[in-house]
Amino acid sequence: MPVEEIPKETLLWMYETMVRIRLHEERVAELFAQGKVPGFVHLYSGEEAIAAGVMAHLRKDDFITSTHRGHGHYIAKGGDIKASMAELFGKKTGSCKGKGGSMHIADLDVGELGANGIVGGGIPHAVGAALGIKLNGLESVAVAFFGDGAANQGTFHESLNLASIWKLPVVFVCENNQYQISLPAKEHTNVKDIAERAKAYGIPGVAVDGQDVLAVYEVAKEAIERARRGEGPTLIEVKTYRFRGHFEGDPQVYRSKEEIKWWKENKDPIKIFEKILLEKGIFTKEELEKVWEKARKEIEGAVKFAEESPWPTKEDLTEDVFSTPTKGVLVWQW
């Protein structure tokens, strides 16, 4: 999509969002290495253009479902970085009170229905959100994010079929970063484009370069507008690449240093976008640098907040299982 056709504030928002995600992820990598962020941490560096290009079209009353690699989606959907950073630390002030961690970050207030530790687990939830939207006569949409590996999970199939027969306002975004942990996509899938699978459900499917935020923006615009018009679901496959290991600590025996280097040098979505913004004279170098500065401050503020926050306590352990109080007990004090 020609950059000129996109409102300047949207361009700025997308750039900011990508930068915020990148800085967030690289900072979390450090914190993980320092032992401050425990557990399994899957970072989104290299894939930022997807979250930014899609979420540019979403409102607060739209819903998304995310994955184990969910920080980018959370940030782009408007999640609070302070709360999520505290969550990554396992602190009481975290967005999930420290109970969820990286794989379960959620913010229902902004329509983020949750990261998910189960590959393919969140796809049906987006279908359900879209059903709720439709039956309530709302104009919202739901977007399900998932990876290339997830596209071989049964829930992918069942969800796309349901969305199609019920003509639901949902968009499926397959982030094809070419690996399912160590398995190259060409070894787990025998079609050129996962987008082709849309035909199996009688819905539109489109593949797009995920390192080009403008391209993502364009296909997402069409799919989301189509969903809002009540014309049903779309499958978008976004070709991308993750710059870091599958999770932090991954020795990456399955791909070469050269491959990673090539992608970082030639296909960094932020650099690509930056170049366009500067060449077309939409923003100055200084304006863009300010974005980085502001984001850096924001993230450092979040880290500080997380570090200074208290740990949850024993009493918190058994809270939040159920919402409606009942008689009877949850037996465990034997």
Binding site: F63, T65, G94, S95, C96, K97, G98, K99, G100, H104, A106, L108, D109, L113, G114, N116, G117, I118, G121, I123, P124, H125, A126, V127, G128, A129, L131, G132, I133, L135, N136, L138, A142, G154, T155, H157, E158, S159, N161, L162, I165, E319, D320, V321, F322, S323, T324, T326, K327, G328, V329, L330, V331, W334
Partner: protein, 327 residues
């Protein structure tokens, strides 16, 4: 009040669904053959005609998909789905959605999610439906923290507990025993709610406590009747809600009788039967005058042949025998 009319268990379920749908537009029904067909056991009969195909929604055979969709819809707050899993035996294709998603969301998200959904399903042997259509798998749901698990034994309980379940903001697994659909009992016409987590003493007695659920309650009552003729007084406790559990009523009954028989149609190990036995052994040990007896099926899949199936299902005779063994 005039004499309460009698209706079947299936009708009681149907009335609860009808009431909730009439009261709250957010309540919808989803499942295989719940619409036109009225449910394979007739529990949703007439609702498709009354509320239309949008709110009484026939689904493809995609249990992970449509149960997952129910969870997502519930999490948004836009709907309160009542979703039907035709047979509890099918849980294996959708278990992740139930036990990792619905059950854990609220806790994982730090208490910020509500998942107001009910998963209705059917259990029970006795119809020569063989190994994959006869199971009683409530233990698998009880095991997993985050699910409320309900198992009514009478039409009265069915209606009141289903209304309470649909109005509850947590994921509830509501298990209907196929052998009970046809039984009749008094059920008020007006809606009423039975609080989740309250056991019901189906028969008072003083010599032995029998804890049993669903169809097994009726077998226990049958055994109790026979035993009464021999002068043995049996108390039959029906927990009704398996999670959360009314431990007090169970422990108090053991305190009174000093003896416990647990009857369960689930597989023997890591079961509701062992659960109650463990509660007795840990929380009521000082009151126990005899070993705890468990009456369960053998540790085998469920055989097809009626000749074998009747041996597989716990019978009133086996319950009687168990009671006598600890007297």
């Amino acid at each position: 009040m005039a004499m309460v009319r009698e209706i079947t268990f299936a009708q009681a379920i149907n009335e609860a669904l009808d009431y909730e749908m009439s009261k709250d537009e957010k309540v919808i029904i989803m499942g295989e053959d719940v619409g036109r067909y009225g449910g394979i056991f007739g529990a949703t009969a007439g609702l498709y005609e009354k509320y239309g195909p949008e709110r009484v929604r026939d689904t493809p055979i995609s249990e992970a998909g449509f149960i997952g969709a129910a969870i997502g819809a519930a999490a948004t707050g836009l709907l309160r789905p009542v979703v039907e899993l035709m047979f509890i035996d099918f849980l294996g294709v959708t278990f992740d959605q139930i036990f990792n998603q619905a059950a854990k969301m609220r806790y994982m998200f730090g208490g910020k999610a509500k998942i107001p959904m009910v998963l209705r399903t059917t259990c029970g042997a006795g119809f020569a439906a063989a190994a994959q259509h006869s199971q009683s798998l409530h233990a698998l749901f009880i095991h997993v923290p985050g699910l409320k698990v309900i198992m009514p034994s009478t039409p009265y309980d069915a209606k009141g507990l289903l209304i309470a379940s649909i109005e509850d903001d947590d994921p509830v697994v509501f298990i209907e025993h196929k052998g009970l659909y046809g039984i009749k009992g008094p059920v008020p016409e007006e809606p009423y709610s039975i609080p989740l987590g309250e056991a019901d003493i189906k028969k008072e007695g003083k010599d032995v406590t029998i804890v049993a659920t669903a169809a097994m309650v009726h077998k226990a009552l049958e055994a109790a009747k026979k035993l009464k003729e021999e002068g043995i007084s049996v108390e039959v406790v029906d927990p009704r809600t398996l999670v959360p559990l009314d431990v007090d009523t169970i422990v108090n009954s053991i305190k009174k009788t000093g003896r416990l028989v647990v009857v369960d149609e689930g597989y023997p190990r890591c079961s509701f039967a062992t659960d109650i036995a463990a509660i007795a052994a840990s929380k009521a040990f000082e009151y126990l005058k005899a070993p705890v007896k468990l009456v369960t099926p053998p540790a085998t899949p469920i055989p097809f042949s009626p000749a074998l199936e009747k041996e597989w299902i716990p019978s009133a005779e086996k319950i009687e025998k168990a009671v006598k063994e600890i007297l």
